[in-house]
Assembly symmetry: C2
Homo-oligomer: 114 residues x 2
Amino acid sequence: MSFEMGDLDEVSQTLKLLGDKTRLTIMKLLEKRECCVCELVEIFKTSQPSVSQHLRKLKDAGLVKENRKGHWIFYSVNPDSSQHELIQKLIAFVPSQDHELEELDKKGLRISCN
Amino acid sequence: MSFEMGDLDEVSQTLKLLGDKTRLTIMKLLEKRECCVCELVEIFKTSQPSVSQHLRKLKDAGLVKENRKGHWIFYSVNPDSSQHELIQKLIAFVPSQDHELEELDKKGLRISCN
DNA sequence: TGCTTATATAAGCACATAGTTATATAATGA
DNA sequence: TCATTATATAACTATGTGCTTATATAAGCA
């Protein structure tokens, strides 16, 4: 087999986390590129605390990691997660969210630091 | 791609359903062979209504189908589900539950009709 | 230092979920 | 027909979840 056999509790916990449409979409977006909280707030048209709380759950489960750059905290997928391969397989079934990222660019709301 | 791109709502709903340890294990068991309710009650050491309610959710989502044989109603995976390929990929990450089925046989609690 | 911006956290509420107990339905066989 | 067995459904309850509002933290800048 090409992957590690998962632990039942870990797998079901991952599925429960990604059984939420917002979190599932976040993972799909982060697969493309890292995003900061305010970008996700714009994309989901929801409140900042709501996005922060979703990200916290993903981070607590080790599925994403954070990286502060000045004012902003960028989130990205954690490739070292024991669930990484499962997640990659899952999000292949999620329709592309590239249009959301392009929309950000168009509106000039893309945050980039270097 | 070898699969149909899923609908976001459908995919997240499937993940939510299988984010429950009992339902995830049921799908893993049914992958091996069809099971009737009383077998699942024995395996999960839980109440009959609890198992029935889990099966109902899986059936409502079209993930399993039922087949009455006399007293017993056997449940099996529904290969015609739009989510079937996703589910197969998921379940590959769930540890084998074969021991549970073997245990049933040993205890003489396996139901077989033909 | 104080102001502003980005993000996190806490508390409260509304709703969903999973289990329980009790009861209903359905099939079988005496 | 009645009794038994398997399963489903309904009502209730306890717990979990996601959102909101309010507040705290942390970084950058005047």
